[in-house]
Symmetry: C2
Subunit: 489 residues, 2 copies
Amino acid sequence: MASKMAGTESQILPQSAIRNPQSAIQNLRSEICVPRLKKFYLWRKISNVKKILVIGAGRSSSSLVKYLLDNAEAQDWKVTLADRDLALAESKLNGNERGEALLFEADNHLRRKELIEECDLVISMLPASMHMMVAADAIELGKNLITPSYVSPEMKELNDEARRKGVLLLNEMGVDPGIDHMSAMRVIDEIKSKGGKLIRFESFTGGLIAPQSDDNPWHYKFTWNPRNVIMAGMGGTAQYIQNHNLKYIPIHKIFERYKEIEIEGYGVFEGYANRDSLSYRSVYGLEDVPTIYRGTLRGQGYCKAWNVFVQLGMTTEDFEVESKNMTWRDFINSYLQYDPELPVEGKIQNYLNLDQETMDLLKWTGIFDSTKIGVDSATPAALLQLLLEDKWKLKEDDKDMIVMWHRFDYELDGQEHQVQSSMVAIGEDHTYTAMSNTVGLPMGIAAKMILNGEMKLTGVQMPILPEVYEPILDELTKFDIQFVEKTIH
Amino acid sequence: MASKMAGTESQILPQSAIRNPQSAIQNLRSEICVPRLKKFYLWRKISNVKKILVIGAGRSSSSLVKYLLDNAEAQDWKVTLADRDLALAESKLNGNERGEALLFEADNHLRRKELIEECDLVISMLPASMHMMVAADAIELGKNLITPSYVSPEMKELNDEARRKGVLLLNEMGVDPGIDHMSAMRVIDEIKSKGGKLIRFESFTGGLIAPQSDDNPWHYKFTWNPRNVIMAGMGGTAQYIQNHNLKYIPIHKIFERYKEIEIEGYGVFEGYANRDSLSYRSVYGLEDVPTIYRGTLRGQGYCKAWNVFVQLGMTTEDFEVESKNMTWRDFINSYLQYDPELPVEGKIQNYLNLDQETMDLLKWTGIFDSTKIGVDSATPAALLQLLLEDKWKLKEDDKDMIVMWHRFDYELDGQEHQVQSSMVAIGEDHTYTAMSNTVGLPMGIAAKMILNGEMKLTGVQMPILPEVYEPILDELTKFDIQFVEKTIH
């Protein structure tokens, strides 16, 4: 029936129009609009202003927006910052004339398309799960996109279409993921280029408190999302590879099996295993490297003490504690076997065989205090977060710190070599934190490169190519984000 | 508009017919059918035969079907056993003339209704998740239903409707849940009736191997669903109450915090905490009892050795092991830190501080053997199951054993008393196992009571009332399912 119709009408309309009359009408419309578009294009070319659309004005956008505005005059940019909180967006612009704040709900798809259509480059600072809708529009409208988030399986699937359209979807452009890729790949490529054979790669990153603001025995404060800190390691068995052997650490052993890492000038840190070290084999092209381990950094003493909460069961979310009439002391006691003789402290010390230092860290949190929790019911993890949000709160003058450390062992000319590469970034204040700087600056530099035509990639990408990481790492040094390399024997 | 119509037509049809014309038509139809139905009813009354429909002919139905057929002549019953496997259903009937096997897919709702309509009592031996569709039909058609499974929240919601229709939905009629409720409630009611005040209730059940078939150091074989054994304790934090204090045990501590329980004539068992002891407070009417603990029994040495698998992380399902080229030794080694000096046995002994007895139990499983796993990839739990299915397989003459143990502490006349009540049931063979007997016989006896009008309950019920548990526990003693009570001081 359909083919018959096609047969009779094909004289007048092209085949495609019959298969899809909607799109035929659209094609017709765009032909009509061409003169107007051409005019607009010509105007744009003359004016030369490039429009950058940043969606999301949260904490992590501060340094990115500042970088873009600081460069806006010289580069002839206009920066539109769109957020559901207009006042927040406005506050990030600091009255800069090159900036424009917009009230915008990211799931308003008509408005979203309109905004993306108008710009030359989109930067999505939305929660990771929301990048996909921006990416779909970006491809459709032929605009390049930058995000700081991991390439999701759905994002990966856009690769072919993005390439066809000549669009770049540049992901993992923050600090972790982001600077970790760039700084590691630079050393890995260097080793390869001189004929070395990588035999071990370890990489650790931590969002911590700066030494000058470190005034508690945990050497830790919440500098970012507290929930992520409480749930660290709870996502599943950690996997890595050592001497070609797959190694697994279940969640209740992750904080027990930490490694000590020394960074000159900053002392000793503890690193616990991240869930996924294996996927870096293919991403970094390290399929034959015998040892690959990725982890998270904490201050000294942290892992042993945090392990107490894990061992007790306080980091779970599988049930709700009836906490209405409980004190913090009752809460911890509910994880300890009944004993009519011993106090709570004695029971926990016997149960988990704790040393005095660990006991001191626990005591400092207030978990042994006989004060009411003040919440009717919540999961153990939520209660623990409640307790620590009070203790690990940043003071007004506190500064955060990002620490990154890589270790590369390689063989060259029959000899084993080791290089360690580390970076410590200290935050400026509560707005331009180390976290915001290390996330936002690489994104800003990448934006500049794309708009200046210095990055000609298309498809779904992450910063692992020299043409991407070299200029970005170079410019980051101007902001004191700098790697120090150390050669061991 | 609707009310206008109701106004004009209300002279001819009753209000309800206008509100629900469908049901009015149905009512009309049933009036027409009455003479036929009455005739059928009269025939049924004369013949007196009662039809029992058993849905599901799996392992747990064997003793139930045998009990029903053994009583069929004396009680004038007809037993229909419906299953998707006709040969299996037929094999359970042993050629008994009172039995009938039917090929039946439980989700065929027309056929299901037809079968339920024809019978006087339904017994659902389907997987727990499938009881609900049978229950809905049973209510609609006014038939009583028995299941061996826990009352699900959805089942609970049927209570009011079942009561209105005068239908009994009797659940938790097996061994655990089932005999555990009945035997505990008998002692609890006894203590209450003489004015005692219960201060502690503990209850443990285990599906084990009979002493005469116990020929391995774990004192364990798979007598039931292996997966449930592998995943034991992995469902979430165990909760109980001790001296009025809520107590929590996270999954990685459950097998470490076992209790020892001695049963005269059978030696010492180990009991680990079940996930949920708290819900029994309301079910048994024990809201003010300071200590309530429910658990599962295993043989001596089991918990310590099983805890090794838990500690290593081998009972998880959160990722797939690339096991293609692995031996069992490689598998266990993947949970141990790299050490160029020590063998696997030495590493695990140091890591988890294991005694020789535990090491012997581990060695016996073959987990240290250098034989290929022979599976491309699977979760750790699935691999562990594969290993143990081979080792914990029942031999032809092996008999299983169900062990149940309760402890009741109470105050009476200013004095503390303790009663222990225990039951050990040994299986007859691979068909009439202790598990099949202890699940099926209470259900069969309940069926008899319902059909003889000795159980007049309606709504959603479980066996916690004396009128239910007394006759059932009495008759169970004829099958050697008998509780021995022991008074301590």
